[in-house]
Amino acid sequence: MDRIPILKMGEYLLVTIQADMHDRLAMTLQDDLTEQIVKHRARGVLIDISALEMVDSFIGRMLGNIAGMARLLDAETVVVGMQPSVAITLVELGLSLKGIRTALDVEKGMEGLRLALGNGNAAG
């Protein structure tokens, strides 16, 4: 069965979502991520959606679910790399992804996670 790979980097988990994610794959990612957060005692989750050419209400809901579940497990989530055309479409669709931290790219996302976790001055 296909799975979206989850990479561990220190206390963070990194996920890059491929362009053509079908719904079952999204559901699997949700389950896998919650497991991995607990297993690795992760404090932050970074989800790169720069390859996504559209975000519909299902994917939007999945991102919200992940952020919500991660928060309950004491981890912060940041979604990075949304394409401008995707952002325009999402707002028109009626989805503003409230409660989801976003950043323009991976670097800014990591910075945001560090700040959110209160170790903004820590190296690496």
């Binding site: 079908h22 050419e53 299902f58």
Partner: protein, 136 residues
């Protein structure tokens, strides 16, 4: 008068088919000359409607068409299923209404992302949703 230039009918039976519909709609939108934002809007609308066809209609078909109306050209998508139908269309179009896995933005969202939107549904017979987005 609306003229159909090209039509491609696809089955929607699995969540992989929903992805294939998105890809086919993207190709059609590119062929018609949509800019990136317009492509993204119609692809997103197609994803919402294809999922509805699969999840609530029990599967069905979509016709992906290039249409001409005088000098305007656009993409029309017609989703059809023989599922249980929608008892209250007005309610189903409201944001926040959901009987399933989404956020309740499927129908209303697809309508907002389209220039023309028509829905016909009969309880026990099925649902037909047709949208058009014109080239900007």
């Amino acid at each position: 008068m609306l003229r159909v230039e090209r039509s491609d009918i696809r089955e929607i039976r699995t969540s992989e088919d929903v992805v294939a519909v998105r890809q086919a709609v993207r190709r059609e939108a590119v062929a018609v000359g949509f800019n990136l934002v317009d492509q993204t809007k119609i692809v997103t609308a197609s994803s919402e409607l294809a999922r509805n066809t699969l999840d609530y209609g029990g599967g069905g078909t979509v016709a992906i068409e290039t249409v001409l109306n005088g000098v305007r050209c656009g993409v029309r998508l017609i989703f059809e299923d023989q599922g249980p139908g929608i008892a209250n269309i007005e309610l189903a179009l409201k944001d926040g209404f959901s009987s399933g896995s989404g956020m309740g933005l499927g129908l209303g969202g697809a309508k907002r992302l389209s220039h023309e939107f028509e829905i016909e549904s009969e309880t026990g017979k099925g649902t037909r949703v047709s949208i058009v987005r014109w080239k900007g």
